[in-house]
């Protein structure tokens, strides 16, 4: 599994191969720290989190007298990312929601999760709660066809909460294990759209006690500092249980999740590394950081 991630990410290791080089050179500590700072900034970690990480690194390096800054940084990042338990709530039956800004990869990620749990023998159903975007319903419908899964959809322009309500009735009647709710992309700055999300969640909790078990914020790894505001706002409106970090097969580092974890204590749970249903990895801080620094 790590191999797959590494392989996918290795194409674009230029930044972190530079990191390797600089680890091996024996220059003064401050100079090394300065370069690490730059590398973290270029990975979208953001100024304040980078500052925090670097000063933590400086302290540790001083205390331990260690010259192996690489090992220290790795540890520092792993600690940061594991400060919250990232275990996926795999109790069944369950309803999971995918939420996030436009074009981040919600629909594709829903399909990936569906495929994953279907492969484990779970009975999975999809709900197309994006009734706004052109052909959003068709997109999920085609995924259902491809994966041979039922998809509940509504009319274009219908109230998404009512589509979800219908899906839940069918989900309960047919005794399925997992209902994945694909929601429309929305920017967190539209309060009416955020309220809509709140409503969907309310309908789910009302119909099934303890649901939704997972509300995953789909975060595009190419996004910079706005990721933090997104996480904060989506969390405020719908409550986030974890992050699904997508498009890690590109050259973006996805370092903004470090800032999100640092500030909001939200765990990353899954990673998307391609456009096919198979391109999904469960998150592991070690492998993420390892791949990041390798």
């Amino acid at each position: 599994m790590f191999d797959k991630l590494k392989q996918k990410l290795s194409k674009t290791r230029e930044i972190f191969s530079r990191m390797e080089q600089l680890f091996q050179s024996s220059r003064p500590r401050e100079e090394l720290l300065e370069e690490l700072y730059e590398l973290l900034i270029l990975a979208d970690v953001g100024v304040s989190t980078t500052d925090r990480i670097i000063s933590g690194l400086r302290d540790r390096a001083r205390k331990t007298g260690s010259a192996d800054l690489k090992a220290l940084l790795k540890q520092e990042l792993v600690n940061l990312l594991s400060s919250q338990p990232a275990a996926v709530n795999e109790t069944w039956p369950a309803v999971w929601m995918l939420v996030g800004v436009n074009g981040g990869g919600k629909t594709t990620s829903a399909a990936k999760l569906a495929y994953r749990y279907q492969s484990q023998g779970k009975k999975v159903m999809l709900a197309a709660a994006d009734t706004f975007r052109a052909a959003a319903q068709e997109q999920l419908q085609l995924w259902g066809k491809k994966l041979n899964l039922p998809v509940v959809q509504g009319q274009s322009g219908a109230d998404p909460a009512s589509v979800v309500y219908d899906a839940i009735q069918s989900f309960k009647a047919r005794n399925y294990d997992l209902l994945l709710v694909d929601t429309a992309g929305r920017l967190h700055t539209y309060s009416n759209l955020m309220a809509e999300l709140e409503k969907i969640k309310r309908v789910i909790s009302r119909e099934i006690a303890g649901a939704p078990q997972e509300i995953l914020l789909v975060l595009d790894s190419t996004i910079g500092q706005n990721a933090i505001v997104q996480a904060r706002e989506f969390n405020r409106f719908s409550g986030i249980t974890g992050i699904f970090l997508t498009k890690l097969d590109g050259t973006a580092r996805g370092g903004s999740v470090l800032a999100v974890t640092d500030e909001l204590h939200l765990p990353v749970k899954f990673m998307g590394i391609g456009e096919s249903e198979k391109d999904l990895l469960e998150f592991s801080a070690e492998s993420f950081v390892e791949a990041l620094l390798s």
Binding site: L42, T222, G224, E275
Partner: protein, 439 residues
């Protein structure tokens, strides 16, 4: 966000102002703060550094060093450089001398190509053109359906592409061009599948399509929320495919959009439009100066300050600002301000400089009419000092007297008072107060 950054730059400003004259040391300090603001706006780190070098070189210029208003000078340099890199004037779309023109949209997955294809089609239709939409995305599920539905909702023609046809791409493209030409469509708007810039195979495919279609516009559609990676992807598209222009999407959010600077910096291609919503009328012509302000996080507030300081009596302005802060703003102050505004040029022009978001959002709704301001001044001139200090004592009889004295209808007196009370209310809003603190 807005307040935070405004605050930071203001601190930088004050810092320089306090020193009286620019020295190398305080420029370094100001640049450091600027760097922070840029990084928070997601401008690429390397671009930031190069930008800094440019600003520094100009700021250390003799003329600036000797300037009596170094802060304004410094900020002006920053803004000028920023606007210049972003492209100066807004640039229009290029149409072919011999129709049909072909516009091809390319970019990473999910950046907004398909939606923007629809927006562009609607836009050129409004210019009296006759667009045809086609999508070469045969990869993403329902990609064809998406553009078909969009075309239908816009009442515009759509050319269906199929995997079957595309088995022989050269033939399929020739057929498409013949169809377009024969029916007199112009432009042909070509949506393409999202792809990673490191996917050599898909990039090569795109390059071939470009070669055959010879588009007049190859438009890179980029997401405004993109972080440091923006330079890498845009540069790769420019190098491997060749671009003519850029459209930045999702600017209706609160991302500061530093990617705009990064992308233009590495591709040297102009941003022509911005996407500001999911609906198809949410396409706007790009304004470099507004983008510069957004990246700096502060609207055109700086030029407002600049203008005010240059043209108005500084002491008076400070006194008014102080009163606004203490919420002791009276009609007498309003009159003084009107006089100053006259000196500074038209009020509508000034209001245009204010950022369209944040605490000033509501300002746009205020009814501004320059002629009216002259009348307002006349009306206030007819009031007694007591009335100006406390307009609440102005009853019906006083209103009639003031109307007579100023030669304006009584409705106008009422309107002035109403507007003044509105303004008073607005000034009490906490976000406005917060902002004033930083000025």
């Amino acid at each position: 966000m807005f307040e935070q950054l405004a605050e930071k730059i203001q601190r930088t400003l004050k810092f320089i102002r306090g020193e009286g004259k620019i020295t190398e040391k305080n420029i370094a300090e100001a640049l450091k703060m600027l760097r922070l603001a840029f990084l928070e706006a997601d401008v690429n780190y390397k671009v930031v550094k190069e930008f800094e070098a440019r600003v520094k070189a100009r700021a250390l210029d003799q003329e600036v060093m000797m300037s009596l208003t170094p802060a304004q000078h410094f900020i002006k340099i920053v803004r000028d450089e920023l606007t210049e890199i972003l492209g100066g004037e807004a640039k229009p779309l290029t149409f072919a001398g011999h129709p049909p023109s072909v516009f091809m949209l390319v970019g990473l997955q999910g950046s907004g190509k398909t939606t923007t294809s629809g927006k562009l089609a609607r836009y050129v239709k409004g210019l009296g053109r006759n667009p045809l939409l086609v999508s070469f995305d045969l990869k993403r599920l329902a990609a064809q359906d998406q553009l078909r539905i969009i075309s239908k909702s816009l009442n515009l023609p759509f050319y269906g592409m199929t995997a079957e046809k595309m088995k022989n791409p050269a033939e399929a493209l020739k057929e498409l061009m013949t169809f377009t030409r024969n029916r007199g469509y112009d432009p042909l708007i070509v949506d393409t599948a999202g792809r990673l810039h490191i996917d050599e195979e898909l990039m090569e495919e795109l390059r071939l399509v470009r070669e055959i279609l010879e588009p007049t516009e190859v438009i890179y559609v980029g997401d405004a929320m993109t972080g440091q990676d923006a330079v890498r992807s845009a540069q790769a598209f420019e190098e491997k495919i060749g671009l003519t222009s850029i459209i930045l999407t999702k600017l209706d959010g609160d991302a500061r959009g530093g990617a705009a600077l990064s992308i233009v910096y590495v591709t040297h291609k102009p941003i022509k439009f911005i996407g500001v919503g999911e609906k198809f009328d949410k396409l706007e012509v790009f304004h470099p100066d507004r983008m510069a302000s957004r990246i700096l996080g502060m609207g055109d507030i700086l030029s407002l300050i600049e203008k005010a300081e240059q043209e108005a009596d500084l002491k008076e302005a400070e006194e008014i600002a102080r009163k606004i802060k203490k919420q002791q703003f009276t009609l007498e102050d309003f009159r003084k301000q009107l006089q100053q505004l006259k000196k500074m040029g038209s009020l509508s022009g000034l209001l245009d400089l204010l950022p369209k978001a944040g605490p000033f959002k509501k300002m746009g709704n205020l009814d501004v009419d320059d002629k009216k301001l002259v009348y307002f001044e006349a009306i206030i001139n007819s009031m007694t000092p007591a009335e100006r200090e406390n307009p609440r004592i102005i009853d019906g009889r006083r209103r009639a007297r003031i109307a007579r004295g100023s030669g304006r209808p009584i409705q106008e007196v009422n309107q002035l008072l109403k507007q003044f009370f509105e303004m008073e209310k607005m000034l009490k809003k906490s976000d406005f107060q917060k902002l004033m603190k930083n000025i």
